[in-house]
Symmetry: C2
Subunit: 501 residues, 2 copies
C-alpha cells in the first residue's frame, strides 16, 4: 500500500474523523478575536494551543514576538505571536510552505447567530459544523494538522519537506507579518523559509457550494477620501439655504461622476493597459461552474449587472471596479437634521487588476477629481483627494507544476478538475510571499462559497473539512511527483508592501 493510500484510509476512518472534528471544536472554543483588545489574551491562548497541535504531529515550531501595536486608547497593545515551523529537511524532496491564520472575526450571538458562535455546533445529518472560524481559517489550518496526524500516527514519511507560517492578526491588519516574512526570507538557508519551492494558502472559498477551485489572481485596491469644505461651521439650512454654496451638493455631484451604475469607471485612463479578454479567456470563464442562481442566492437579490455569467465573473475577476462607500461629516442618523454640513468627505475605492497600480491610479483619480471639481464652478474648496491605502493586484501563471499538482489532487479527491479563478478582493500576504520568496504561490480553498465567512452562522461542511484534509494531503504527494523546470517560476506580482483590506 502506498503512503498516499494509507493516508487516505486513515482520513476515511470514522473515529479519526470524529477526532478531526473534536480538534476543530477545540479551536473554535478559543475566542481568538484579534479585533477585540479585551480578547487579546485569548488570541495568544489560540497561538499556544495551535503550536501544541503542530508539535504533537511532529512539527518543530517557534513562536515569533511581533512586538506592540498602538491601541485605541493610545496605550501599546501586545501583538499575538506568530508561529514558524518546519518538518523535514531532505534535500531530495521539494519544500512546501504553508500559511494560515489562527484569529477570527468578532461574533456575538445577539447579532443573529442561531447558536453560540464559540461552540462548534455539529449536525451530522445536515453535514454542517457551525461556529466562528469554522471556515475562516480554523477549519483549513486544522485540516493541515489532520493530514500531518495521519502520517505521524502511522509512521508514514511525508513526501515533501514542509514549512509553516501562521499568524493571529489576519483579521486585524496582519500587524507585523510582512516584516516577519521578509526578515525570515532574508535569512536564506538559516531561516524557516529555507529552500521553499512553492507556497500553498488555504484561506479563500469555492465560487459556489458544489465545485472545488484553485485561485491564481487577486484584485488590488486603492481607497480614496475626497474632502470638500465651504463655510467655517455647519449652517442651518433655513438661514443659509440658497445663500451659500453647499459642500454636500458639490460632493454628491462629484461622486456622481466617478462611476456609472453599470460600473463603468468614468475616470480618464482608468482602463489603460487592461486588455480585452481573448476568446480563450472568455471560454474559460464560460466554462466555470457558476450560475445566475448562485449569484442571486449569494447577494440576496436579482441585482446582477448582466445576464451573462461569464461577463459577471470577468467583472469580478479581471476588470476593475469602483464602489461609493459613504460620506463622512453629513447627517447619517435617523434624525431630520436640517444642517448644511461645512465639511464632507466622500469615501470610495477601486479594485485593481494588472497592469493597474495604486500609484498610477492615485494620479489618475487625483487629476480627474480636480478637473471635475473645477467644472463645478463652485466657491466650495476641494481640500484634498487622498489615497488612504493601496494594494497591488496579483496574478500568476496558473499552468505551472504547483498548479498542476493542485489540479491533480483536486481531481483525485473530488473527481473534478477545478476551475481556475481569481478573487475580486485582496489577500496581501500572497503578494508578500510571492515577492519575498519568488516562488509559485497557490490558493487552494477548503470551504464553500456559502460558508458565510465574516457573517453570522459561519459554517464549514463536514464533507469539505474531510475532503479538504484529503485534498491538502494529496496535494503534497502531487507536488512531490512534479517535474520542476530548472528555473523556478516566479509570481508576476507588481511590487511589495501591501496593506490588507
Amino acid at each position: 500500500m502506498s503512503n498516499l493510500t494509507a493516508f487516505l484510509d486513515y482520513v476515511k476512518d470514522n473515529d479519526h474523523q470524529d477526532a478531526f472534528i473534536q480538534r476543530l471544536s477545540d479551536a473554535v472554543a478559543i475566542k481568538s478575536v484579534s479585533g477585540d483588545p479585551s480578547l487579546r489574551s485569548n488570541v495568544q491562548d489560540m497561538v499556544n494551543w495551535f503550536e501544541g497541535q503542530l508539535h504533537d504531529v511532529g512539527v518543530e515550531t517557534q513562536q515569533v514576538d511581533l512586538g506592540y501595536q498602538n491601541g485605541a486608547d493610545g496605550q501599546p497593545l501586545k501583538v499575538p505571536n506568530a508561529i514558524l515551523g518546519r518538518i523535514g529537511s531532505d534535500p531530495k524532496k521539494k519544500t512546501v510552505l504553508v500559511y494560515g491564520h489562527m484569529d477570527v472575526q468578532p461574533a456575538d450571538q445577539q447579532d443573529g447567530w442561531n447558536t453560540d458562535p464559540f461552540t462548534l455546533t455539529v449536525d451530522k445529518d445536515a453535514g454542517t459544523m457551525i461556529g466562528r472560524g469554522a471556515t475562516d481559517d480554523k477549519g483549513p489550518i486544522c485540516a493541515w494538522v489532520n493530514a500531518l496526524e495521519a502520517h505521524k500516527a502511522q509512521g508514514l514519511e511525508l513526501p515533501v519537506n514542509m514549512r509553516f507560517c501562521f499568524e493571529a492578526m489576519e483579521e486585524s491588519g496582519g500587524e507585523g507579518l510582512d516584516e516577519l516574512i521578509y526578515t525570515e526570507a532574508a535569512k536564506g538557508d538559516q531561516g524557516y523559509f529555507d529552500n521553499v519551492d512553492c507556497v500553498c494558502i488555504s484561506d479563500n472559498y469555492w465560487l459556489n457550494a458544489r465545485s472545488p477551485i484553485v485561485t491564481y489572481g487577486l484584485r488590488g485596491i486603492a481607497y480614496f477620501e475626497v474632502t470638500i469644505t465651504g463655510p467655517g461651521q455647519d449652517l442651518h439650512s433655513g438661514m443659509w439655504g440658497n445663500v451659500v454654496y453647499e459642500p454636500m451638493t458639490d460632493l454628491v455631484n462629484l461622486m456622481s461622476q466617478l462611476v456609472r451604475n453599470d460600473d463603468h469607471i468614468m475616470i480618464d485612463g482608468a482602463y489603460d493597459g487592461i486588455s480585452d479578454p481573448t476568446p480563450d479567456e472568455i471560454a474559460q470563464y464560460k466554462a466555470m461552474d457558476y450560475t445566475l442562481d448562485d449569484l442571486k442566492q449569494a447577494v440576496g437579490g436579482d441585482v446582477a449587472l448582466s445576464d451573462d455569467v461569464a461577463e459577471l465573473l470577468m467583472g469580478r475577476m479581471r476588470w476593475p471596479s469602483l464602489s461609493l462607500h459613504g460620506i463622512r461629516g453629513a447627517s447619517s442618523d435617523d434624525s431630520s437634521a436640517t444642517v448644511i454640513p461645512a465639511k464632507v468627505i466622500g469615501k470610495f475605492s477601486l479594485r485593481l487588476v494588472p497592469p493597474q497600480t495604486p500609484e498610477d491610479i492615485e494620479k489618475k483619480v487625483s487629476d480627474y477629481v480636480h478637473n471635475v471639481f473645477k467644472s463645478l464652478d463652485t466657491k466650495s474648496t476641494l481640500t484634498s483627494i487622498t489615497m488612504t491605502s493601496g494594494g497591488l493586484p496579483w496574478i500568476t501563471d496558473d499552468t505551472d507544476w504547483n498548479y498542476q499538482a493542485a489540479d491533480a489532487a483536486t481531481k483525485d479527491v473530488y473527481d473534478k478538475t477545478p476551475d481556475h479563478t481569481r478573487e475580486g478582493g485582496s489577500i496581501p500576504v500572497v503578494l508578500t510571499f510571492s515577492d519575498a520568496l519568488g516562488v509559485s504561490c497557490l490558493l487552494l480553498p477548503v470551504g464553500r462559497g456559502d460558508d458565510g465567512a465574516h457573517s453570522t452562522n459561519e459554517k464549514l461542511d463536514i464533507s469539505n473539512y474531510i475532503g479538504g484534509t484529503k485534498l491538502l494531503g494529496t496535494y503534497l504527494y502531487k507536488v512531490a511527483e512534479a517535474d520542476v523546470p530548472a528555473k523556478k517560476p516566479a509570481g508576476s506580482n507588481y511590487g511589495r508592501k501591501q496593506r490588507r483590506l
Copy 2:
C-alpha cells in the same frame, strides 16, 4: 411726565439695569434643557421660577399640564408645563398677546464654551453677557418682565391689556403647544386669549450686529427621505464590485439631479406660482442694512452664491431652497470600510415660500424622483420617497397698525427705521397663532445676528438687553396709540398644523 417717559427713565437707571441682568443671570443658571430627559425637572424648575417672576410683576398666571410624551426608552416622559397669563381687561384698551419660551438648547463647556454655559458671564467693558439661553430665549422673555417691573414698581398703568403664552419645549418639537393654543383660542372670552388684537413674538435676531429689524415672513419646509435598496445584505466590494448594481451609486446619481450648486432646484414645477420680485421689492432688499462682510463673518467663509447682497437676501427670504443633508445606511465613520451598502436613505429638504405648500411639493418631488430613478435604468429598487415632515411658509401684511407700532417703537429706541425681513427658517408657532386667532402677528427681535443662538458661547449684548426692554415696552405704547381699522387684518397663512424644524 408721561408713563412712557417714566418707564424709559426706570430702565435707564443703573441699579435697575443691574437687577435686570441679575434676573437673566438667575434664569440662565437653571439648566432648562428640554432635549435632555435627565434635566426635565430643571425645565419644570424654570417654569416655576418664571411663573414667580410674572406673578411678582402683576401677571395673573396659570400653569397648563401638557401631559406626557414618549421617551427614548419607550417610557412616558412628563412634558413641562406651559404658562398662560393675563394682566388687565380694560375693554377700552387693545390686548397684546406675547409668546416666548423658557427652555434652551443643550450646552456643555467641553464643546468649546470659554466659560460655564449655565453661569451668565457679564463683561461690562465688552458689553456682553455670555450663557446658554442669553439670547434664545431667556433674554427676550426677561425683557418682557423687566418692562412690566418698571410699571409695577412705579405704579404705572400699562397702556394695553396683555396676555402671555410661554412654553418650555420649543427646542424639542414644541410638544403639546399647538393643541394648547387652539384649545385656548376656542374658549373665546372665557380663555386667556380673550379679545387679543395682535401677537408679538421676540424669538429671532437682527440680520446683522447693527440694525434692528421686524419680521413678517417665514419659509416653510418639506423634509424628504428617499430609500434605495438592492442586494439582500451589505456586500464586500472586493467580491461584488462590478458584479451587481450598487444602491449607493444610484442614490448619489439621483441626489445629484435634485439641485444645482447655485441652488437652482431641478424638480419640475418647483417654482410654480412664485412671482419674480417687483422693482419695489428689489429696492426694499437693496435698502436692507446687510453687507457681504456680514455674510462672510456669519458663515465663516467666502462662499456666497452671489456678490449682489439683495439677491442673497432674496435667496434666503423669498425664494425656496433645497439642501442635501446626508445619507443613512452608508459608511459614515473614519474607517476604510469596503462595503457596498444594501440599503441607503438620502435625506434632503426644501425650504418653501408662498404659494408653495408641503402637499404640492410632496407630489412634485415624488413624481420627479420616480422619473429620474426610471432614467437610471438600474436593478436597484426605489423603495420609497417620503415627506417625513412639512410646514407651510408664512407671510403677512407688514404695513398694518401692528407693524407700524413696531416701526415707531424701534425708531424711538434705536433711532432707526427697522428693515422688514423674512426668516429663511421656520417658526411654526407663528402660523399657529395666526391661524388660531386670525390677528396680526409680528416678530420683534431683541438679539443680534451674531449672538450664536444654538452655538457655543451664546451671548446677548447688554445694550440689546436694555434696548430690547425699552423696545418691547415702547411697542406697547405705540400699539395703544394705533388706529385700528374696523376689520382686523388676518395673517395670510396657508393652514395650520405645523411641525417645528
